[in-house]
Symmetry: C2
Subunit: 144 residues, 2 copies
DNA sequence: TACAACGTTTACGTTAACGTCAATAATCGT
DNA sequence: ACGATTATTGACGTTAACGTAAACGTTGTA
């Protein structure tokens, strides 16, 4: 088993643990996305796997990045937005301007997300109501 | 004032209150979207304003629908998804199959939304951390 | 009377985020 | 030796949700 051309390569040097690596299809399976999507994220500079020949090798860090990308997507961030966050997180502290900009951006985003939580709660409430209505109607039907 | 060709027409019959109507640009302003977008939602059968000649007249119900559309969008629903919810809500109780389907769909959506809340909380926490880092770095810079 | 303001329809353009081939290469089990 | 499997790189296609521009119709106002 574990037989593909790239071979889920493990252990580098003295097998330090945390040196686990993954193939593209392994990650695709784990997160239920297509390899195409993962390659696309790389194209957009969101993930940067190493190579073994032509094959992509994903580190644990890459895996976490992917996880973050998908999480960001789920709450409505565009890939470009996710990238700017990554970039800023990666960059060395940098100049004062960049930092205050980053802080402002985070404030902004945080507020948006809090509003989004409200929207979700509102919709959840609405759905509860609709469900109740539907259940009542269903029971009425079944009495016949 | 209040001078456009369609004229935000008020009062129908005995001015019952709640008979308030809106022009397309009024709604556009209120919800900060373009008239184009609002017309597009009509095209997709999400809103169905009446007409006064060729001009669209939006009722309070239309306004609420628009509000719901935008809320749905904000939490990541597609217009098509929003439409199916509207359709089901509008339709008479219907057959048993439809009802159980509706209930299942609501369960499904609710679970998704709950997961989405978790994602939001996670990202909010991440952002807090980044903000802290940034603030620290900023203070360090300013000590110079 | 002219033009500014608001509305209309029609239709083509745009962006994001992949999907979907096609052609090719390396490796595996049989 | 050969087909199945997993990988690669192009490159074109697709869908959603509008944007944008053109050409036009009313209405109030300077």
């Amino acid at each position: 088993m574990n037989s593909n051309n790239c071979g889920a390569a493990q252990a580098e040097e003295y097998n330090d643990m945390k040196d686990t690596t993954y193939s593209i299809s392994e990650l695709a399976k784990e997160f239920d996305v297509t390899p195409r999507a993962i390659r696309f994220y790389e194209d957009q500079s969101l993930i940067t796997p190493t190579r073994k020949g032509r094959c992509r090798i994903y580190s644990e860090r890459d895996r976490i990045r992917l996880k973050l990308v998908l999480r960001g997507k789920r709450i409505g961030f565009s890939l470009a937005e996710i990238k700017t966050v990554f970039d800023m997180y990666d960059s060395e502290p940098g100049e004062e301007g960049q930092l205050t900009y980053l802080i402002d951006m985070i404030r902004d985003r945080s507020n948006m997300l809090k509003l989004q939580r409200r929207d979700i709660d509102a919709v959840l409430q609405d759905m509860k109501d609709v469900e109740k209505r539907a259940k009542t109607a269903l029971k009425a039907l079944q009495k016949n």
